[in-house]
């Protein structure tokens, strides 16, 4: 019994703040030979320890179990064979010994066989299906059959389904034996007992004081917590930026107690990280390189978002893109007003009427337009005369292959194809800036909010 208590203590140390979940799981598992629920459904946000806690318990208590990730086993056959072969584990050495199984009927039969062969049919066998939401995409009978595997095999087996998605979303059709639903709650982030910090403190850098790192984590959370409460993400960001934070202390510019100075030093970095590393605009190694190059006094090579909205295009292509954007977002009937030489002014009445309609062109997304209309706008916005050569049309198709324009599939019209502009307003603004074209002021039919 004391051994078990030791184990429990260990478990609580390895997984802080998960005590109630651990206790519940252990009590449900009970003794090795005892029956438990036919299926357990464990859900919770990423990083709440669903997989970690379950596998730790199963591994350390040496319970007979199989761990399967449903992303890996994308077809039912892989799933069956994975489970059977991992139960077989010791005896399988060559690929010829691997079991073949491609339907539920054989699976159930072979499962019985294997467990009897291995002599584990007296104990509860646990089958853990991680990322269980994938099971919904497989054949209709798989999920219901796994939920009543105990009944079908007449054996002491427990199926654990782990998922990020709530159980209600799994119910389709009939045949479902309800599993016991278990929630792994998120880590509370109160002012006084922030569990996230407790967990991230587990691997604080040994060369620094614990309190120092705790203060740093507090700062990181103050920047990121509003946006993201994913432990993995936060942990990654904290590790990545710590060297930068500790630098003034290392060089002697500031002491470890001078929190204000340290905060001033790190704040812009964290804010920038929010816009780049967090969004995966740059990889963490690129981020580190960028940091180094800034330190060396060189201008940074890559700068996240701004780098993406800076694409080098041929001169005419830029105008073509602008024309496409205008064609996509301006209503066709306003073309006359924007692009004709002597456009009449709108009457007051129609201005009032339009107000409601105005609201939403940028909300609903780009509209498809015919090639002719785009070309007309193009000739109107570009300075000087441009001959409609094949070169121009070539550039349109290269814009399509760059995914800046999209081809709308209106099948039967070969002579007048339709397109859609796929770039954002910010992008088009920066493009028009490079050619000194004022897209905002003169040509765009805008909603007042933007």
């Amino acid at each position: 019994m004391t051994e078990f208590d030791n184990f429990k203590e260990d478990l609580n140390k390895t997984f802080p703040c998960r005590q109630s979940q651990i206790n519940l799981l252990l009590s449900l598992f009970g003794q090795r030979h005892q029956y438990t629920y036919a299926s357990l459904f464990i859900y919770g946000h990423t990083g709440t320890g669903k997989t970690a806690v379950t596998t730790y318990i199963l591994n350390h208590l040496k319970l007979p179990h199989v761990l399967v990730n449903c992303v890996e086993c994308y077809s039912s056959r892989f799933l069956y064979e994975m489970i059977l072969n991992s139960l077989h584990v010791n005896s399988v050495t060559e690929s010829s010994d691997l079991v073949k199984c491609d339907n539920m009927n054989d699976f159930v039969r072979m499962f019985k066989q294997v467990s009897e062969e291995k002599g584990i049919d007296k104990e509860t066998i646990y089958i853990v299906l991680d990322k269980a939401e994938r099971l919904r995409e497989m054949e209709m009978n798989i999920l219901p059959a796994f939920l009543r595997l105990q009944e079908l095999t007449q054996q002491n087996v427990c199926v654990l389904l782990l998922s990020e998605i709530v159980w209600e979303k799994f119910r389709t059709g009939s045949g479902y034996c309800e599993p016991f639903v278990l929630h792994f709650s998120d880590y509370t982030n109160g002012k006084y007992n922030n569990q996230l910090i407790e967990i991230m403190m587990l691997d604080h850098p040994t060369e620094y004081d614990e309190n120092f790192y705790r203060l740093y984590l507090n700062l990181v959370l103050s920047v990121f917590q509003m946006v993201c409460r994913n432990l993995k993400e936060l942990h990654h960001l904290a590790r990545l930026n710590f060297q930068r934070y500790a630098e003034p202390v290392k060089t002697g510019e500031a002491t470890a107690e001078d929190t204000r100075k340290l905060w001033k030093n790190i704040e812009p970095h964290l804010k920038k990280a929010l816009q780049t590393v967090y969004l995966r605009e740059v990889s963490s190694s690129q981020w580190e390189k960028m940091q180094q190059s800034i330190e060396a006094g060189q201008p940074p090579a890559l700068q996240g978002l701004s780098s993406r909205s800076h694409v080098e295009l041929p001169y005419y292509s830029k105008f073509l893109l602008i024309a496409a954007y205008l064609a996509s977002y301006n209503p066709a009937k306003t073309d006359k007003r924007f692009f004709a030489k002597h456009a009449g002014k709108m009457s007051k009445q129609s201005k009032l009427l339009k107000k409601h309609e105005r609201a939403s062109n940028h909300m609903l997304g780009p509209k498809p337009f015919a090639l002719d209309r785009m070309m007309a706008i193009f000739y109107s916005v570009i300075e000087g005369r441009v001959a409609p050569t094949a070169n121009i049309f070539m550039q349109i198709s290269s814009l399509v292959s760059l995914n800046l324009l999209g081809h709308v599939a209106s099948d039967d019209q070969i002579d007048s194809p339709k397109y859609k502009c796929l770039v954002s307003l910010d992008f088009i603004k920066s493009v028009s800036r490079t050619v000194n074209f004022e897209v905002m002021r003169r040509h765009l039919y805008l909603n007042c909010d933007i």
Binding site: Y37, M104, N105, N141, E151, V227, C228
Partner: protein, 445 residues
């Protein structure tokens, strides 16, 4: 009558007699009680405990017995909601029948399940296997399904004797109706009604409209005999069922502990709180399996310091089994994501349930963040990432299929959370800014 096959039970009793130590004895007897009860609440209990259905059971029993003893062919459908005891009754009938030596030698049972045998080929293989005719079938090749089945049945005719009676039990009967041409059902019913071999086909299903699923030619071969298992017990019966599940009747362990246990169970059955919990559960779901879930939880919570179930265990179990999972998930999202959800809620209100897209949500959020709060306003890309997280959690769902080529900012979405769940989550959310709370509670129309 409960049969408990726990090893080492006699040795435990011996030990407690010899050493006279109360404590370890009590722990082991508690464990034995737990073993026994856990076994009762799992999916394959050793000893079925049945309530009611005497008439239905009699009817089925007679029917199957006639097939078994006189070789009469029959077909019947057993219909009833899940967890009403259909399969259990059939099992107990079979077990009672084979107590007769004559029947045990003769009657063969084939059990099929719609979840396992997903097409005719697999089903036929399984039938062969269960009739132990793999050798007879060998490598013979047959033209049609009917031929094969007929051959299998002929193979069972031994010498001058007529063929052995076979009991076919088809679980999840409705699934078999989805096979191509319903070949299996057609052949089974055909054999049953044309008296080629004595078989009894029992279909078990929870669908009341199952007859409608059958094709005309299949329907006309079915005897249209249906037995309904409807759990029409009242709350008093429900309570009794619950308590009889907890009571231990046999005495595999030291009888003192059992006596004490039963006394405690008796006390529970009169307890107001427990009855309240049961009433709540009964109103919500009459299914016995749902009751098993609660009782299993209660039994699992017992340990050496907490040897008898208490009313608070029941309350706790009820709480665990009825938590609203979406509210629980909302508790773990970030403030930004929460803001987006509130924006979506407002949009749904404004446009009367019409779908929205990310751009609309963003502009709604931007309006709030710029004008009405002191909160930091985040970049569009950051907000989009938060939005995608909500999409991954399936709290928001795209209304048109994922196959469309619309950019993700403009894809139409609908919110899958009820306003009450949002309010609930906001109340429990740790340190939710007051501005956000106010924003959520303002009405937009």
């Amino acid at each position: 009558m409960f049969l408990v096959g726990i090893q080492g039970v006699p040795s435990v009793e011996e030990k407690s007699k010899t050493t006279k130590e109360v404590d370890p004895g009590e722990i082991t007897s508690l464990q034995n009680v737990q073993d026994e009860l856990r076994l009762r609440f799992c999916q394959n209990p050793l000893s079925p405990a049945l309530y009611g259905y005497e008439k239905e059971r009699r009817q089925l029993f007679d029917l199957i017995k006639r097939t078994a003893s006189t070789g009469e062919s029959n077909s019947v459908l057993v219909i009833g909601p899940r967890g009403s005891g259909k399969t259990m009754t059939l099992n107990s009938i079979y077990n009672e029948l084979i107590e007769d030596d004559n029947i045990r030698e003769n009657l063969l049972q084939v059990k099929l399940n719609g979840l396992l045998q997903t097409d005719d080929k697999i089903a036929l293989k399984e039938i062969t296997r269960q009739l132990q005719l793999e050798n007879t079938l060998g490598d013979k090749v047959f033209g049609s399904f009917a031929e094969t089945l007929q051959f299998l049945l002929d193979a069972l005719k031994c010498g001058s004797q007529s063929s052995k009676p076979i009991l076919f039990i088809l679980e999840e009967f409705d699934m078999f109706a989805h096979y191509k041409n319903q070949t299996l059902l057609y052949n089974l019913f055909d054999i049953a009604q044309s008296d080629q071999a004595p078989i009894c086909v029992v279909g078990v299903t929870c669908r009341l409209d199952v007859i409608e699923l059958l094709e005309k030619r299949v329907k006309s071969r079915f005897s249209h005999r249906q037995v309904y298992f409807l759990n029409n017990y009242n709350f008093e019966n429900y309570c009794n069922i619950c308590m009889s599940y907890l009571r231990i009747e046999s005495k595999p362990v030291s009888s003192d502990f059992i006596k004490e246990w039963n006394k405690q169970v008796e006390k529970l059955s009169k307890d107001g709180t427990v009855r309240d919990v049961l009433q709540q559960q009964f109103n919500f779901n009459k299914d016995i399996r749902a009751l098993h879930h609660i009782l299993m939880y209660v039994v699992c919570q017992l340990n050496e310091t907490h040897t008898f179930p208490t009313p608070s265990d029941f309350v706790e179990a009820m709480k665990v089994t009825t938590t609203d999972s979406k509210s629980a998930m909302l508790h773990g999202i970030s403030i930004l994501e929460l803001c987006l959800i509130i924006a979506m809620k407002h949009l749904t209100d404004i446009y009367d349930g019409e779908p929205f897209n990310f751009e609309m949500v963003y502009s709604e959020y931007a309006k709030f963040a710029q004008k009405r709060s002191s909160m930091q306003m985040y970049e569009k890309a950051v907000v989009l990432k938060a939005f995608e997280h909500l999409l991954a959690l399936e709290l928001v769902k795209s209304t048109d299929g994922s196959g469309t080529r619309i950019q993700k900012e403009y894809r139409l979405m609908s919110l899958l959370i009820h306003p009450s769940q949002i309010t609930d989550a906001l109340q429990k959310y740790p340190q939710c800014p007051t501005e956000v709370k106010q924003w959520a509670s303002t009405s937009v129309i």
